[in-house]
């Protein structure tokens, strides 16, 4: 009987097309993800070469003054995307993977974006994440909207009912067939991704798979709940689609609007203005004022005093430093606000499973905002280290060839956050459980009596 029901389900044209759609978009999306990661990796490797050439060329050219050379020298920090980000591109297309900085005013450089086509950013990437978060639930809806209702509409529900031990068994059979197909397709796609990309088997991958499976289960629970109302197929379709739209479009879109409004970012523009004024106004004020501020920031450089010249690199870099110091407050505020935004969205996402799953998957794939913020922090840290290394060389007017320039290779940032597996899937399982119980409750009330 089970096999027969399975055959009937598979023979349906809609089932065919649905599976084909999932497979085609799924495979295309994996390919798109692969291309994306390849492009970024290629760019990163190129950056390593460009940095080498850049340093060599400039060291040869500006070989008289360390101060002048360091005005030009650019050092890159890159955020290498892990292979897993091929299936969850997340924010990686928006945030730059390569940041090059000179030891000058950091706040002028660190927010520079990469070159992007905003139309592509708007429409978003067709990655596997999208296929799972958007399309799988839709196909689950297509598969499940007519459970029980179709038999009723065809007038064979009574027949079906008496042929099996219990109503529950019939419904369970119908659902399990569909789950088998959906999970089968899901496993197929993940297996394809694992081989084609290829994906290393590690904790983030396992976590992503478990999360995706829980997410699909959540949608089956919703379908079960709606089916349990015992209404018509049309009612089920419309209701399920409305739920889908609410969870996948309207809910997140409203939340986004709310967050944008609540945490709007005048600090960003403020930071730009402050860093620019902070540096440039120093050209017009007494040199010693700038130097005193600089010595207050870096007492270790007090030994270097201003030479009796109109221009000196000590003064110049002290001025540049002031650009950062004056923008520090608004830059910190901007960062704090971004973190608050992130936290607020994280909390709110507990009520929106689709958003929740998306954010978690991005986190596993290191393509979320937090990853970018950590990366920016590492750029900041590296920039500071460069300053501390080079300031004494510049101020001490050391010759350019006194150091080994080959040692300055492109720096790679690595994420060190950890994954808590149980707490990650818990919300989705809770919802699944809740809707499952509710569904059973309604079913007792409605379907058993039909």
């Amino acid at each position: 009987m089970y096999l027969l029901a399975f055959k009937i389900f598979l023979r349906n044209k809609a089932t065919y097309w649905s599976i084909a759609l999932l497979l085609v978009t799924g495979i295309a999306s994996i390919h798109i993800g692969k291309k994306f990661v390849e492009k970024q990796t290629h760019m990163i490797e190129k950056t390593a070469q460009i940095q080498k050439d850049h340093i060599k060329k400039h060291v040869g050219f500006f070989n008289k003054e360390m101060g002048l050379l360091m005005y030009y020298l650019r050092f890159s920090v890159v955020n290498q995307p892990p292979m897993l980000s091929a299936i969850a591109i997340g924010q990686r297309d928006i945030n730059p993977a390569v940041t090059g900085v000179t030891i000058r005013n950091l706040n002028e450089q660190i927010y520079d974006t990469d070159l992007n086509n905003p139309s592509s950013l708007l429409l978003g990437n067709l990655d596997l994440n999208f296929v799972f978060i958007y399309l799988f639930p839709l196909i689950i809806i297509v598969f499940c909207y007519n459970i029980v209702s179709e038999e009723r509409e065809k007038g064979i529900w009574g027949l079906t009912k008496i042929q099996s031990k219990s109503v529950m068994q019939v419904i369970w059979m119908q659902f399990s067939i569909r789950m088998l197909v959906i999970y089968g397709v899901a496993i197929l796609l993940i297996a394809f991704a694992a081989i084609y990309l290829p994906l290393p088997v590690n904790k983030p991958l396992v976590a992503s798979i478990i999360l995706l499976f829980a997410y699909l289960l959540f949608w089956f629970a919703i379908a079960f709940l709606i089916v349990s109302f015992g209404k018509t197929s049309n009612y089920n379709t419309i209701t399920l689609l409305t739920v889908w739209i609410t969870l996948n479009i309207i809910g997140p879109a409203f939340l986004n609007l709310w967050v944008t409004n609540k945490y709007n970012m005048p600090e960003a523009l403020e930071t730009v203005i402050h860093q620019r004024e902070g540096y440039h106004e120093k050209w017009d004020i007494e040199k010693q004022v700038t130097m005193n501020k600089f010595y207050a920031h870096y007492p270790q450089f007090k030994a270097y005093v201003l030479p009796k010249k109109e221009f000196s690199w000590l003064w110049y870099y002290a001025m540049q430093q002031m650009g950062d110091d004056d923008a520090q407050q608004s830059a910190d505020q901007m960062l704090q606000k971004t973190i608050k935004r992130e936290q607020f969205t994280q909390r709110a996402s507990l009520f929106m499973p689709s958003l929740y799953a998306q954010l978690q998957l991005n986190e596993f794939a290191q393509s979320d905002l937090n990853n970018h913020l950590h990366y920016l922090q590492s750029v900041k840290k590296y920039h500071e280290k460069l300053r501390l290394d080079f300031y004494p060389l510049i101020f001490g007017e050391k010759p350019v060839n006194s150091i080994n320039w080959n040692a300055f290779e492109m720096k790679r940032f690595t994420e060190t956050s950890s994954i808590g597996l149980t707490q990650t899937v818990l919300p989705l399982l809770l919802y699944t459980f809740l809707f499952g119980i509710l569904g059973l409750f309604f079913m007792k009330k409605t379907l058993f009596k039909l």
Binding site: G90, I94, S120, L122, Y134, T237, N256, N264, E277
Partner: protein, 482 residues
């Protein structure tokens, strides 16, 4: 064809639609969503634009307040430009949140436009943004499909279709009547939106309405009306074609999913795959390479600048640059700026061409997908599309170039050509010159420019409309009453 009959059928459709609780709830929910989106969208527009205006004024103030300086210092001090939002952009956000807001304009260097809203987002923004346009483009069609899927098929299932024909109703009258009925229900949502939009927009422009904005709005509203008509026709035609309501509903839902969820992403992905664009580091490396080929002003033995020097000496009839009455350094910088800006522009144009090619698939897909047609048209009319953003970038680059060359000209003319010792105070010129550089003011393009860019979208909407109308009158021969 009898208009009286069409009207009667439309009226009946309208009444049954509004009687249905599901429709009423959906309409109400959409109405509330629209209201909320309008309100928050408008607030958002105001805060952001106010901020940008405020900082824009501050930038100008600081520029004018700079003391006497060497003009080249001012060229490096540069200018900050903030991209203003179009007054209609509260209606449709378009690419707004994905495009940068602030750009630093300085001599020698073209910077990126930074701080897009999406760079502060953790990914929630990728689910879409709630705006009036989004509701009208994405949700209202679904409502129309829900309203329309039963329109003919239910009559067929109930057997009332035959009765209708017995009463002398023609197929075309029936179809038209149903369509008019469904359109009028969707207009229950649309008309208040129109009114609020007009009101808000008038308020935003301080009740001083420019003809350009008014024309934009008229086109916008006509576009959406056409879009709803197209959706209604689709719904009724599918319903007439399918034997059962269930079949009709399935087809319509699948259409909606393909049009709105899958196709836009798919076509854009195809474009980006086929026309890969360079990253910034590659872009800059390419420019740098060409620049060093064309001439390096830092290199005293560079052939280009050697020739440049000769020409200058000849022009001023002197033997060495130190005898020049004008500032030679300024002349060299002006030449350097000219060359680097030219090379940059060539690369930038190539990049833009690549982006336009990437977008071309999505644009062409408007003929397959009315959603993309209205989406592109709506973004363009509300000043929130890529063409508009590109125009902003072009205007800032022009301003940047003019700023740099203005400062070079001041240096050439007013800065002494005599080399200074290391203890001399640097040369300066009066701060009065700073006001000679006008403020950066972004000028939105006119509607003619917009429509010229959007010919495709407009034609696509027309084609859809004509096609469905023709279908409406020809398909009737193939339709079955049973």
């Amino acid at each position: 064809m009898s208009f009286h009959k069409i009207f009667l059928i439309a009226k009946l459709t309208w009444i049954t639609a509004l009687k249905s609780r599901a429709t009423l709830i959906l309409t109400l929910v959409l109405g509330i969503a629209l209201f909320a989106a309008t309100y928050i969208g408008w607030q958002n527009f105001k805060t952001q634009n106010d901020q940008r205006t405020k900082y824009k004024a501050l930038v100008r103030e600081k520029w004018l307040a700079k003391p006497d300086k060497h003009p080249h210092r001012m060229a490096h001090y540069g200018y900050l430009a903030f991209r203003p939002k179009h007054e209609l952009s509260f209606f449709d956000f378009g690419i707004e949140s994905f495009a940068g807001v602030s750009i630093f304009l300085e001599a020698h260097k073209q910077n990126t436009v930074n701080f897009s809203e999406s760079s502060f987002s953790n990914g929630i923004i990728r689910f879409g943004e709630m705006s009036i346009a989004m509701i009208l483009q994405v949700l209202v069609p679904l409502l129309i499909f829900f309203l329309g899927y039963k329109s003919i098929s239910a009559e067929r299932e109930n057997g009332t279709l035959k009765i209708l024909f017995c009463q002398g109703v023609k197929w075309s009258e029936l179809l038209l009547g149903k369509i008019v009925g469904i359109i009028s229900v969707s207009f229950v949502l649309f008309i208040p939106v129109i009114c609020i939009t007009i009101l808000l927009w008038a308020m935003l422009s301080n009740w001083q309405v420019s003809t350009d904005a008014a024309q934009r709005l008229i086109f916008l509203l006509t576009g959406y009306a056409l879009y709803f008509i197209i959706c209604s026709c689709l719904a009724v035609l599918v319903s007439a074609w399918h034997r059962t309501s269930r079949g009709a509903l399935t087809v319509l839902v699948v259409l909606w999913i393909i049009f709105i969820v899958i196709l836009p992403k798919a076509t854009q992905s195809l474009g980006t795959q086929l026309y890969p664009s360079p990253s910034k580091i590659e872009f800059n490396a390419a420019i740098e390479k060409e620049l060093s080929k064309q001439g390096d002003s830092h290199n005293p033995n560079d052939p280009h600048y050697e020739q440049f020097k000769k020409d200058i000496l000849k022009k001023y009839k002197v033997d060495s640059t130190s005898q020049l009455s004008v500032n030679y350094g300024g002349l060299v910088m002006a030449e350097g700026e000219r060359i680097s800006a030219q090379i940059y522009q060539q690369h930038q144009n190539r990049l833009v061409q690549t982006y336009i090619k990437q977008n071309s698939f999505t644009r062409a897909a408007a003929f397959l997908n009315p959603y993309l047609a209205i989406k592109n048209l709506s973004m363009a009319l509300t000043g929130a599309d890529y063409a508009n953003y590109l125009d902003f970038q072009n205007q800032t680059e022009k301003f940047r170039y003019d700023l740099a060359q203005k400062m070079n000209a001041l240096q050439i003319e007013h800065i002494s050509n005599v080399k200074q010792g290391e203890n001399d105070k640097p040369y300066t010129i009066s701060h009065k010159y700073w006001s000679e550089l006008p403020d950066f003011k972004y000028q939105f393009k006119t509607i003619n420019w917009v429509l010229k860019n959007e010919v495709y979208s407009v034609v696509a909407l027309m084609v859809w409309f004509t096609l469905l109308m023709t279908l409406l009158f020809t398909i009737t021969k193939k339709l079955k009453t049973l």
